[in-house]
Symmetry: C2
Subunit: 130 residues, 2 copies
């Protein structure tokens, strides 16, 4: 598999795959005569793991941790569990923040004024902080 193929199969961009290699998240693959990267199924598995973890919102550092844990089949599952729980807490925090924010904006309602001078949105933004 060339880098374009594996990118397509994982849903990553070509540049991102190279970036992950530079970051040490995946091993450098062998090269073709023309110096092209050649990947096999093990790379596909690893990149899939990374892609899914990233899609779930884990940072690259967290992905590094998950990979280390996943690489030891006899290790304990507890650490993974803990990461998931913490991650959910973070997501809930973000959800709450976005909800509040949405309500804030909706609260302005549609601005029926015609000029900026009477615009409620601009008004709300201009008001001094409490």
């Amino acid at each position: 598999m060339k880098i374009g193929d594996i990118a397509k199969r994982t849903g990553l961009k070509v540049e991102t795959v190279r970036f992950y290699e530079g970051e040490g998240l995946i091993a450098a693959p062998r090269r073709s005569g023309g110096n092209y990267r050649l990947y096999d199924e093990s790379h596909l598995d690893r990149l899939t793991f990374i892609k899914r973890s990233r899609d779930l919102g884990f940072t690259l550092d967290q992905v590094r941790d998950l990979l280390r844990l996943a690489d030891d089949p006899r290790g304990s599952c507890d650490a993974v569990d803990e990461m998931a729980v913490l991650h959910i807490a973070e997501i809930d925090h973000k959800l709450a923040g976005l909800q509040t924010l949405r309500e804030e904006i909706v609260k302005w309602g549609r601005c029926d004024a015609t000029t900026i001078a009477e615009c409620r949105l601009i008004d709300a933004l201009s008001s001094r902080l409490p």
Copy 2:
């Protein structure tokens, strides 16, 4: 007002205030004999506006637009309105994404396995993409 005072009153960090000046979001204030920045109420207003906009999730470029609009009291309010609507749409998109993500993680349930080899979380992450 010195930079520390205005930072406290706006809820911004000192470095952020200087950063906004460098970015041209606020005018450079006059200086004291000792080369300290000295701010007045107009700076306070503008920084408050920026801070509130940022808290609501607008990017600095959007803040720039909002400032330009706010600076013309006779201008039309429509553009501001449109930005708010677009912004809400973006927020809804993010909310939906986070919800899905949360469900994904919760779906794994608590991992009652003891070793990584049986861990459902690791399993879910390893599975090939559809």
